[in-house]
């Protein structure tokens, strides 16, 4: 593995190696040493969580980071090409971790530079490190990745995390329930991928009544701005809010995941139940990113 650009590039073996390494880092079995290693965090699009998570991962391994956030203070404003910016940054650092609103930007970066590139989100395309930390959270709570029933709820059209997760879980024979307003449904190209792999999925418009047979419910935020008319948003909003009263008949092993930030799609009354797992999930992100960086830099 030279770069991490898309879940489509990873084999089952690659994923299991990453899961295994994350687990060993979490329990202290391996302690990667990144002293004198520098990660360039290039975030051309706002991010707090993912950026902090990578920053934390690097620093917990005694490594260091240089951070660029937004494009305001970069040479792009002076007319420098994207390729030149990347090649220059690559002279300073050992690994580039990059988020961009442009789809395919990380793939292109990996072609341009000789050091490893990690895609920390490219437009509505991929967010593989989020998918991997989601997988790590699933394996920790379910004890396995194979043959699980997974509900994906919220904005399935523009949410890159659900695209990456659906592709990743398909490798393990998951069955899906897609729960979203009709105009925010899972894109056809993802559904085509799943059909080609003989993965079963059903589509629903309501969360209520569709969660009792799930092992995992993955909730994402529906952005109000996606709706042309605010009244339309008000009408459907309630169908995508999870609260405690919906949980009495869920399975014993059921867990709720969310990539965060949460707005109001999971009521805070769910937080105290044994089904809430979104905050530990964020912590798992650090172990997973430690594993990704360590493997790409050949330190484990």
């Amino acid at each position: 593995m030279k770069n991490l650009i898309s879940m489509r590039d990873l084999s089952k073996e690659d994923i299991m190696r990453l899961m295994d390494t994350a687990a060993k880092i979490e329990n202290g079995e391996i302690v990667p040493d990144m002293q004198r290693k520098l990660a360039a965090l290039l975030f051309f699009e706002p991010s707090t969580r993912t950026m902090f998570s990578f920053d934390t991962a690097m620093k917990r391994m005694n490594g260091d980071t240089i951070i660029m956030s937004g494009t305001k203070n970069t040479s792009a404003k002076k007319g420098e090409t994207f390729a030149d910016t990347l090649q220059t940054i690559a002279q300073y650092s050992d690994i580039i971790i990059m988020r961009s609103p442009i789809e395919g930007a990380a793939r292109y970066a990996a072609e341009v530079v000789d050091i490893p590139v990690v895609n920390a989100g490219d437009g509505a395309n991929q967010h593989p490190t989020q998918a991997l930390l989601d997988l790590y959270s699933i394996i920790k709570t379910q004890g396995k990745l194979e043959n699980l029933k997974i509900g994906l709820a919220g904005d399935l059209r523009f949410g890159r995390t659900v695209h990456s997760l659906a592709q990743a879980m398909a490798v393990f024979g998951a069955e899906f329930k897609f729960i979203s307003p009709s105009f925010l449904q899972m894109p056809e190209y993802i559904k085509d991928d799943l059909t080609e792999q003989n993965i079963k999925f059903e589509e629903f418009k309501d969360m209520e009544g569709n969660i009792d047979d799930l092992d995992i419910l993955y909730v994402t935020r529906i952005q109000k701005e996606r709706f042309a008319d605010p009244e339309d948003y008000a009408k459907v909003k309630g169908s995508y809010v999870l609260n405690k009263t919906m949980l009495p008949n869920v399975k014993e092993n059921f867990k709720v995941l969310h990539p965060l930030p949460r707005v109001d799609e999971i009521h805070t009354d769910v937080d105290d139940t044994k089904f809430a797992y979104y905050f530990p999930q964020a912590k798992n992100g650090v172990y997973t990113r430690q594993a990704i960086i360590s493997i790409l830099l050949g330190e484990v």
Partner: protein
Amino acid sequence: MNQIKMIKVNAIKNGTVIDHIAAGKALKVIDILTLTGNNAVMIGMNLVSNRIGKKDIVKIENRELSKEEVNSIALIAPSATLIIIKDFEVVNKTSFDMPEYVEEHIICPNPKCITNSEDIPSKFYINNAEIATARCVYCEKKYLVEDLRIKI
């Protein structure tokens, strides 16, 4: 009959003939070719064809096609025949096979794709199923081959 055809689109001494292009697509084929102005080019459109009903034909003097050009033409004119002419004789005649991969001549329809904001060649993997589809290497979106446009 052959003589009538020769009158419609002149024969060339040396070069490449792209025959049996689906009627109306000759200009798209021309868009793919990097023509410098040194080569004589003859275009015939809506000619009668026993094989495909109506066809277009393109003849380019003193020019062979690159692999990328052949792959891109195969996408938009899969029924076409590639003929190499030397001294007015046909020395090679092959069909265009649907490629597994094309680079450069196709525009990615996704406006947010990096190939539409940076000056870099597009790249597509082709799935030659019953309905052929193309997946962009960069943004990973999948499109019907028949919906793709040529970069001019």
